[in-house]
Symmetry: C2
């Protein structure tokens, strides 16, 4: 069928390791003589339909290795969520450019795009391999044990909490941090890795898998503050009341909504400030501070998990191998054991991931609904890297 | 005069390297046979007056080295600003415990405390050496070229901006980050180190040394957005209007004020959210996001400048040497050259630092009032460490 080209693109929110997957795709594709040119589309599906392509075939390996260590999406990204017509146009461009392998690095929206493009190719019997390369800091893809990008973001959240915990111990008060996560609380839960000794924060963790009850929250803060003389809280941006209404939407009369009708959660400190107000007005505690970790969670330069880096590279390599072997699907990560940590990669059906959202299983959330379990800690610990920093406390005798 | 004891305490906001100074003090004090016990007061001056002391004399060196690498104040800190009576009580405790060397690691308030305690000791001819060990992420101590703690916080801000710059290039829009700094803009200005290639953000930098004009800000954002297709902004939390009123105080009817009548700037996302609103309402740009870097700037575990670490250790060592040599004063850092970077430590009078605030010199701020100068970049570059990470961009040929 003449020369066969490969197309790769990146979609959705960038991560610390999404470029590892891109570099894995490029380097592995060069190993296969059947692949002629390696095209990269700029800004995801927008760049495909606009035929805004760069040629990645001949970039020197040392340059690629440096790009792999750089956070955010080197090809640019997009928030566009293609409908059927848009997918048809993607397919037409693939046909026109003799693209036979389409690899899309992204979350569950990206896998859904691939699913539709793949159906279009099958209808006209055009030989196109569609492989989804997983990526999301939210860790919310089905089938996967975890997703590339999550481990590095979890490392950021845990490092941030470990440092702020020491700061808060030095200058005690209530501290609240709002962590990314609309439906899945994995990233917020990772704050628990900051705990090393008795009394370390976070003392309370609230995830969107459970209803957020403001009265219970106030009672929890009072209890923890009485016990520790301070209180550190981690909450997901997506916490909501029993009706499913996000706490942020309750607050903000002028909340911003996206094309899908979702209230904009990131890029604002409003939820954190609301929770500060709630604590101040209901506990009598005066030193109450809050941070919203924001975009730093997914992009901070110099905070990547070495385990996450390797796995992100691995799914990129595996994706090319799967395509060359004639598969369509999504690359999924499966844990074999936690101690020592081992995993394997598989090719799973696009439909098993496309458009679906995984949330934290019940066994990861404490029955009190304000903490995580040891099972979660065992799960998350290997993902933040083999060199996670530790904090050392002063252990000196009291003077009489 | 019998056994001579040394007292060390930490005050004010913690930093990534304040424990380096503490460890420098402890290790150096052990070298001087004239010093008997090394006492640490818990939570700064509160721990002195409450005689809440630990004995630091015999802590193993390897434990100390691990504490030195740990952010925040290992002895605990305080926001108490002693008046004359409080200082008198500090002095009485020193007398009672036969403390002959009082070393206080902190900012300009701490040096003022030392100045008053020192005067009390001179009035009754009690031999007490008072040495201030500089520390502040704000970099706002007089006489000093820069202060321990600043370099690591600057590294955090620059790393954060470098990452978010790539994120914003992948998903373009307006991005605003609020950085700590009430009166001095050094830390906000350090965001400029994130720029590596033409078009990199931050595109606009606003510091409290200049009046913040909302109309000019809107015009600046429009101009940058038109030029780059996106716009990244760094602003100090302390930006204010021509009357000196903080922009945050203008916004917040229910702003929190501290004992000194200062509006609480940190621990809230309100200023960032105000600026987002201003941009949205006046530019027609829809994707506008903001982060407030918050406490992570001074405490993030795993983000310290190696230059800052060494200097913080150095001022602790020098402080003990100065005390043993019979000086009172503050240890100050003086730059000898920027390329290669060299500095020396001196003992300066407490009065030269006490209670005063240094701000950015005019030559560090661009005449446009919305950027820094090359002179500032030359100044700040060596302080963030010899291993500041770089970002690598994709450089691939376009496909026709």
């Amino acid at each position: 069928m003449g020369e066969e080209n490969l197309l790769v693109a990146q979609g959705g929110g960038p991560t610390a390791v999404i470029n590892q997957s891109l570099v894995g795709v490029i380097l592995e594709a060069r190993n296969h003589p059947s692949i002629d040119r390696i095209y990269g589309a700029l800004h995801g599906v927008d760049g495909i339909v606009g035929e805004d392509f760069v040629d990645l075939t001949d970039i020197p390996a040392d340059e690629l290795e440096a790009i792999a260590l750089t956070p955010a999406a080197a090809l640019g990204s997009t928030r566009s969520k293609p409908d059927a017509d848009f997918c048809e146009r993607i397919f037409e461009v693939c046909q026109k450019r003799n693209i036979r392998h389409f690899l899309y690095i992204g979350g569950n929206d990206s896998s859904d795009t691939l699913r539709i493009v793949n159906e279009a190719s099958e209808r006209v019997d055009y030989d196109l391999r569609c492989i989804h390369v997983p990526k999301t800091i939210d860790n919310d893809l089905m089938v996967n044990d975890h997703t590339p990008g999550f481990g590095s973001a979890a490392r950021f959240v845990a490092s941030a909490f470990a440092g702020v915990n020491l700061d808060n111990a030095a200058l005690p008060g209530v501290y609240i941090a709002v962590v990314m996560g609309r439906h899945a609380g994995f990233l917020t839960a990772a704050s628990a890795l900051a705990r090393e000794v008795e009394g370390d924060g976070p003392h309370l963790i609230y995830v969107p898998e459970r209803t957020f009850d403001t009265d219970q929250f106030i009672a929890d803060v009072k209890t923890a503050h009485a016990k520790y003389g301070r209180c550190m809280v981690a909450v997901s941006e997506g916490i909501h009341d029993a009706s499913g209404t996000p706490m942020l939407a309750q607050l903000a009369a002028n909340a911003e909504y996206d094309a899908h009708g979702n209230v904009q959660l990131s890029g604002s400190g409003a939820l954190a400030d609301l929770l500060v107000k709630v604590v101040k007005e209901n506990t009598g505690i005066t030193r109450v501070r809050a941070d919203t970790f924001g975009y730093l969670q997914r992009s901070f330069l110099g905070c990547a998990s070495n385990v996450d880096q390797c796995e992100a590279r691995g799914v990129g390599i595996k994706a090319v191998q799967a395509a060359v072997e004639g598969h369509d699907g999504t690359i999924t990560i499966h844990r074999l054991s936690s101690v020592p940590y081992t995993h394997e990669l598989r090719v799973s059906p696009l439909e098993s991931v496309a458009g679906l959202t995984r949330v934290m299983p019940d066994e990861f959330i404490a029955p009190t609904n304000n903490d995580v379990t040891d099972a979660f800690l065992t799960y998350v610990r290997p993902l933040v890297g083999t060199d996670f920093p530790t904090a050392t406390r002063l252990n000196a005798p009291k003077v009489d």
